[in-house]
Amino acid sequence: MNPTAEQIQKINHFSKVPLDMCKKIASAVELQECQPKKALLTEGDTGDTMVLVFQGQVEVSKNMMVKTASGLATSRKPIIRLETTDPPPKSPPITEPTVFVVEAPAFGIGEFSLVLDDAIRTAHVHATTPVQYGILTLEDFSRIVKDNPEIGGFVYFEVAKAAVQNLATASADISNLTQAFFFALTR
C-alpha cells in the first residue's frame, strides 16, 4: 500500500512540494509497520534510503566513548526522540524518554541519502512505539526529480537548511569541546 499525497506533504522536507507532485513521491513509497525496538537506521552503515515516519515515536542515539568505573567503554547515548502528532502514536512508548521529545506532524530521517550516494548513517534510530513508515530510495527519488525538476528545488532547499543547521551546531560543539579540553589541561 502507498501513503497518500497528504501524508507525504506533512513531512517537513516535502512541505513545499505541491500535492500532485507529492502523489508521484507517494507512489514510489511502500507503507510498512514495525514493532517497538526495531532498528530503522544503524550508525556507521551506508545507505541510500530515506525513512519517512508517518505514525509513532523513534529514538535517535549515538555511540560514545565514556569513562566508567571499570575504565573506558562505548555506550549508546540517546540524543533526541521524534514523535508524530498527525496521527499520534498508537500506544505510549515502551520506555520513558530521558531526552527531549520533538513533535512534528510526520518526519523523515536519513535525508542526506537523498543527496549523497553512499551517505554514512550518523546515528542509530529505533522505534519506541509501533511505527508506520515508508522508505524512499535515492534511485526512485532521482528518477522523480529527473522527470519533474521543480521538486528537486523544494526538497533540496529543506535538506540544505537541515545541513546548515547541523553544521552550526557541530561548530558550537567543537568550540565547547576545545574549551573543555583546554580547561582540563590547564588545571
Binding site: V66, K67, Q179, F183
Partner: protein
C-alpha cells in the same frame, strides 16, 4: 613627546585661579551633600546595633555556668572523673561505718580529742563522730593506715574489708589516670585548640624574619582578622622572642611540620580565610637556603583540604612560580620582582622609588595605601563620584580599585550553544575526572580608571590615607 608634555603643562598654568575657586566651591557643595548621604548614618546605626547585640548575648545564670563548666570538665578529663568517684566512695563508706560502728567511733573521738568538741559542745555528737570516721576513711584510702582507730564489730570489719578491696582498685585507677593524662598531654602538646575561636582566621606556614613585620602590619589594620595561627618547627622560645607586643592579634603556634595534612587540619585550614606559605627557616643555619619544594607541597595539600581557601605563597626562586600556579595558589609573591623596576626608576623618575619606600615601608596605623569597602549606595555609580566621595568625606585619595573577578566557569562559557548531549557529556566526564568546572575567584586591580568607569559590587576601593 616632551614638547607635548610641556605644552600641556603650559596650558594648565593658563587656567585662572578664579576658575579653580569655582571648582572648589562646587566641590564644597558636593561635600556637604555627601555628608547628608543616608548610607553613612545607616552604617553607623548598624555598627551600634551590633555592639548592643554583643553585650546582651550571654546572660545565663552564674550557677548554671559553673555547673556547665564542671560538667564539661567531668566529661573531658579522666582524672576528674576518677577523683569524683573516689570521693563518692569515701563518703559512702564513711556514712556506712558511722552507722555500723557508731559507738566505737564516738568513744574514740572522746579518747582522742578530750573535752573540746567542735560541733557538740562538751559531748561528741553525730557530726563529730562522722568527721572522725571520715578521718579514718581517708587514712585507709590513702593506704597510710595510722591505726589510731579501727573497727571492732564483725560487721564493721567486714565492711572495712570490702572498702579496702575497692580502695585497691580506685588507687590503681587513680594512679593510672594521673599517668595517662600526663602522657596524653606530653603527646599532643598543649595545643588542643578551641575550635569555636577559629573561623575566617589567618594561617601562616613557615617562619622567617618577615613574619613579625607581616603580623605588625596586620595588627595595625583594624579591619583585618585578629586570629592568627603560626605553623612551623622553630623553637617556641625563639618565636616568643620574635613576636613583640601586638594590640589586637591572638597568635597560636603549632610547632609541627606544615607539609603534613593532619597538621594543617589541626590549624582548622578548612575554616581559614587566608593561608600564607612562606620560605621556612626553621632549623636552618644562617647561610642555608629554605627548601621551597615544601611550599609547593603545602599548597597542594592545602588545596586538597579546602579548594576555596585563599592561598598566598611567597617564593624566593622564580622557578617555583609555575609549580605553584599548577598547584592552584591564588597569589604568588616574588620579593625581587620589583627590584629592577625600582632601580631603573631611580634613573628615569627620581622620587618614585622614594615614594614607594614611604608608602610601603613606613606604613603606620591607618595611614598609607588601604583597601576599603565601597558604601552600598555608591555601587553602580561612576568612578568620579566615588573619588569625590572619599576625597571630601574622609580626605582620602582614591587611586584605584581591587576587583574580585569570578573565576572562569566552563558552564557559563558553553551557555546554550551546541548540542545538549555534548554539553552534558563534557560536564559528566570532567566532573567524573575530578575537574572543577569553575576556577577560583581572583583579585585584579584597576588603577586610576576613566571618570565614567562604572563600579559594581565586586569592586572595593584602594585609597591613600
Amino acid at each position: 613627546m616632551k614638547d607635548k608634555l610641556k605644552n600641556n603643562q603650559g596650558q594648565e598654568l593658563d587656567v585662572k585661579t578664579s576658575d579653580l575657586d569655582t571648582v572648589i566651591d562646587a566641590n564644597k557643595n558636593l561635600y556637604d551633600k555627601l555628608n547628608k548621604l543616608p548610607e553613612i548614618e545607616a552604617l553607623e546605626a548598624i555598627v551600634l546595633d551590633e555592639e548592643i547585640e554583643d553585650t546582651s548575648a550571654d546572660k545565663s545564670h552564674p550557677f548554671l555556668k559553673i555547673f556547665n563548666k564542671l560538667h564539661g570538665l567531668y566529661i573531658e578529663n579522666e582524672l576528674v572523673r576518677y577523683a569524683a568517684w573516689s570521693i563518692v566512695l569515701i563518703l559512702i563508706s564513711t556514712s556506712a561505718l558511722t552507722i555500723v560502728e557508731y559507738d566505737m567511733f564516738k568513744e574514740s573521738v572522746t579518747d582522742h580529742v578530750g573535752d573540746t568538741f567542735i560541733f557538740g559542745g562538751d559531748q561528741p555528737n553525730w557530726l563529730d563522730t562522722f568527721f572522725h570516721t571520715f578521718w579514718w576513711s581517708i587514712v585507709t584510702f590513702t593506704t597510710v593506715g595510722y591505726g589510731d582507730v579501727s573497727p571492732v564489730t564483725h560487721l564493721g570489719k567486714f565492711l572495712t574489708i570490702i572498702i579496702m578491696l575497692l580502695n585497691f582498685g580506685v588507687v590503681t585507677l587513680l594512679g593510672g589516670a594521673v599517668a595517662s593524662v600526663l602522657v596524653a598531654q606530653r603527646l599532643t602538646g598543649d595545643d588542643t585548640l578551641d575550635e569555636n575561636k577559629f573561623n575566617g582566621h589567618l594561617v601562616i606556614a613557615g617562619w622567617n624574619s618577615y613574619v613579625p613585620s607581616i603580623l605588625k602590619l596586620i595588627d595595625a589594620n583594624q579591619d583585618a582578622t585578629d586570629v592568627v595561627i603560626l605553623v612551623n618547627e622553630t623553637d617556641p622560645d625563639i618565636i616568643q622572642r620574635g613576636l613583640s607586643d601586638y594590640e589586637r592579634l591572638d597568635i597560636t603556634h603549632i610547632p609541627e611540620n606544615f607539609t603534613n595534612e593532619s597538621t594543617l587540619r589541626k590549624a582548622f585550614l578548612e575554616k581559614a580565610d587566608t593561608f600564607m606559605i612562606l620560605p621556612d627557616n626553621s632549623g636552618l643555619l644562617p647561610h642555608e637556603q629554605p627548601d621551597e619544594d615544601k611550599t609547593v607541597l603545602t599548597c597542594l595539600t592545602a588545596k586538597a583540604i579546602s579548594e576555596s581557601c585563599n592561598v598566598i605563597a611567597h617564593v624566593l626562586d622564580p622557578e617555583n612560580v609555575s609549580h605553584l600556579q599548577r598547584a592552584n595558589a591564588n597569589e604568588i609573591v616574588i620579593p625581587d620582582d620589583h627590584v629592577p623596576h625600582l632601580l631603573a626608576k631611580h634613573v628615569t623618575d627620581p622620587g618614585v622609588p622614594q615614594f614607594f619606600d614611604d608608602l610601603i615601608l613606613q606604613e603606620e596605623k591607618d595611614k598609607g595605601l588601604q583597601e576599603v569597602k565601597i558604601p552600598k549606595s555608591l555601587i553602580g555609580k561612576a568612578h568620579n563620584k566615588i573619588s569625590a566621595f572619599y576625597k571630601f568625606k574622609y580626605n582620602w585619595l582614591l587611586v584605584g580599585y581591587a576587583v574580585r573577578k569570578a573565576g572562569f566557569s566552563l558552564d557559563d562559557q558553553m551557555g546554550e550553544s551546541g548540542s545538549p548531549l555534548i554539553r552534558s557529556m563534557i560536564r559528566e566526564q570532567l566532573e567524573g575526572a575530578g575537574v572543577n568546572l569553575t576556577s577560583d575567584e581572583h583579585v585584579v586591580v584597576e588603577i586610576n580608571p576613566s571618570d565614567d568607569y562604572k563600579i559594581d559590587e565586586k569592586h572595593s576601593a584602594l585609597v591613600l590615607r
